[in-house]
Symmetry: C2
Subunit: 438 residues, 2 copies
């Protein structure tokens, strides 16, 4: 077994090898790609002891280096997590084939047929923090969608990632696939090089802190899938059912405050002062959420709850922890304007019993996710039923919102004729086009 | 009638007004947007004399300033061209509604319904050269798709563009629509300002020279629809029908050499030397195409045709005129490798009678358009039957290739519940998701 050793290659050379391997991968049938995934699953099973040993070594060093507890928790890849990751890989194999679908099939003229076909993007550059099990998930999604991938994991997880990629490449070889399809970068300097490879890398997927995603966006001409900020809002309208509002606020803020789809700002209609707002704040306060309110909030409830004065920067801050900014608005329009001005166009929700208010909110809020009477925490590829989540995009253009396998797929136009030339369709004796879909 | 005067506003203020107007436009039905287009068509008819007078003034100055003949030809907007542009506007009204379609409708759980809906992008920034009739086309496409647009035409056409936009705004007002939906920038300095307005402008569409498109791409974080280069190839395979090859080569090179979908390089299989290649070159030579060949081409046919030696930079040059680079390749794989290495991923064609060769070419060439036995000149939104062309994209990710109205449209996810929270679907008593499409 010869495993590709990236050590003697420049990042650019390595990317060229991945591009060539990806071209081969793109030509495989769904069955062949699924068999490759099965081969990888088996190779990972066989390499279990090596992977767990590598992960123990990573963790021992992490302990000595006293990395933050959250990072340490994500670094850990024990038997059950590895079992889960391998099961996840087999789940990806069962997803519908994302490539090859004919999206358009149109007769432009007799014997001149246009087809638009879904096809892989090419080579993915994926940069992520500690979590070594992400390598397995990303490799699975890449192979399922016929793409090559160049991975860069966190420094803390380097031994684990190496052991995993070695097993993945062994699995590819056992399926007759060029192991260069999935490659690992191990030094931080290679990130900057990767970001410059616009000829050979087609899509960058950064998974990390906001600052890191922003760094990536600012330092590459390669398209980036991902978002820097998740500043989500919950607006409680005058006609809200307060039980629903309180439950949704609690879930949206507290169910997993570090997630990008957790809310940072609560907007409340003035008519709900003070009792309505108090009903919403009570469970949040009990859940130890630190409250920061505007003057109207403090005036109404400053004696019932500890509410710090919100500063202007609070409206555009992603806390990622149990802090909530609260602002009182005069009406629905003011809530929509606040969200469009200060939000990050991720996911925003209205709680209301008035259908017209909900409709207006869903139509006018410019966010990837616009919700009515449910928690912002539903913004997630698995919850949406995509079977996988490649990332969440807050850009306006597609792909937008939670992105499943379709985010790793593009299309091409195939036109097949029999000597057809454009001159026949112009000038005085111009033939008309048929434009018949079939 | 009050026409928006952008003179007293900064570009940023103007863009904010356009965003607000676009929000209103997005809420209109297809019928209302079509009525606005009819109102604009009528206003343009009524302003005919003003527009033609403004265009005459532009042309008089252009003559004095001795602008290039091609630019002058594009600047001219006489009665028949204006009639054509207004007819084109009415054609756009007849296109299918690009927004509002439900792309996904899925029950995540009882009472929790996810919908993905097509919606406008928001505000377009469109920068184009001389052609004043482009203003009418772009405004029509923007309004049809529910988007606002900020337009910047060439300095040569400033009077024509002003007269046209004034009529468009009058047409919007007559339909009860905020005229700020379509605005015109008139100074070159405003381009740089426009490119910085990432909060209020969602998509930049540059129409101009390669150098200009590259400048735009390098100077904005706003997504750009368009491509800098159109380096298209025709590969004549060993088994090509030479009549088809000669006809396709002639059309692809000569039908409109300045177009981005004209070919720059002819790749020819070695087995066709010398007679097969001569058959293809003869009509090109008669059509006054200047030939530049590699050593093998010159060795084979240098005595029959005037062939200058091709330099390495010829393989990556878009001539845009009657010049053709010719390279002899050993096999299909070499042709594919040349195209993927040197091309701009626009449109590339194989001429062959061998189905397997065609299949391999269509699968392995990484271009937006991959053609078999037909002219590259078909790469065009109208020829593809899109009814309109917003631009041609050579990026890997969608939208790719000729882009119709769908390039001005994105989508959003609407999730409607009844107090649903994410906590119910996690932990020990986790409810399962239904994920039922309906």
């Amino acid at each position: 077994m010869t495993v590709t050793s990236p050590k003697n290659l420049t990042t650019a050379e390595l990317a060229q090898k991945t591009r060539r391997a990806a071209q081969q991968l793109a030509a495989l049938s769904n069955g062949e790609r699924n068999r490759a995934l099965a081969g990888i699953a088996q190779a990972l099973e066989e390499a279990r002891a090596d992977i767990e040993a590598a992960n123990r070594a990573d963790r021992e060093i992490a302990k000595i280096e006293q990395i933050p507890a959250a990072l340490y928790a994500r670094l850990k890849l024990d038997g059950s997590k590895l079992t889960g990751a391998i099961a996840g890989l087999r789940d990806v194999a069962r997803l519908a084939d994302p490539i090859g679908q004919v999206q358009i099939q149109r007769r432009l003229d007799q014997g001149l047929v246009l087809r638009r076909l879904a096809c892989p993007v090419g080579v993915l550059g994926v940069i992520f923090e500690a979590r070594p099990d992400a390598v397995i998930q990303i490799a699975a999604l890449a192979i399922k969608s016929g793409n090559g991938a160049i991975l860069k994991g966190g420094r803390e997880a380097v031994r684990s990632c190496k052991a995993i990629v070695q097993a993945i490449q062994a699995g590819l070889i056992s399926s007759g696939i060029d192991p260069a399809a999935i490659q690992l970068l191990t030094s931080r300097a290679e990130i900057a090089e990767l970001l410059r490879l616009e000829r050979d890398v087609d899509l960058i997927i950064p998974r990390g802190s906001n600052a890191f995603v922003r760094y990536v966006q600012d330092n590459t001409r390669i398209p980036v899938l991902g978002h820097a900020d998740g500043i989500c809002h919950l607006y409680v309208d005058a006609s809200a059912d307060l039980d629903k509002a309180a439950g949704i606020a609690l879930d949206s803020k507290c169910q997993y405050p570090a997630a990008c789809n957790a809310i940072e700002t609560l907007l409340v209609h003035r008519d709900l002062l003070p009792q309505g707002l108090a009903a919403v704040l009570t469970p949040l306060h009990r859940a130890q959420v630190a409250l920061r309110g505007d003057a109207a909030t403090i005036a109404a409830l400053g004696d019932q709850f500890p509410i710090a004065p919100a500063q202007p920067e609070d409206w555009s801050t992603e806390y990622g922890e149990l802090i909530l900014a609260i602002r009182i608005v005069d009406d629905l329009e003011a809530a929509i304007a606040h969200i469009n001005d200060y939000g990050s166009h991720h996911t925003d929700c209205i709680v209301t019993e008035t259908a017209a208010a909900a409709e207006q909110f869903l139509a006018q809020v410019n966010s990837a996710g616009v919700y009515h009477n449910c928690s912002t925490r539903f913004a997630d590829g698995f919850r949406y039923g995509f079977g996988a989540e490649v990332g969440i995009s807050t850009q306006k253009l597609p792909p937008r919102g939670p992105v499943g396998l379709e985010g790793l797929v593009t299309y091409k136009y195939q036109l097949v004729g029999d000597g057809h030339v454009a001159a026949s369709y112009g000038g005085e004796a111009a033939k008309p086009f048929l434009h018949e879909d079939f």
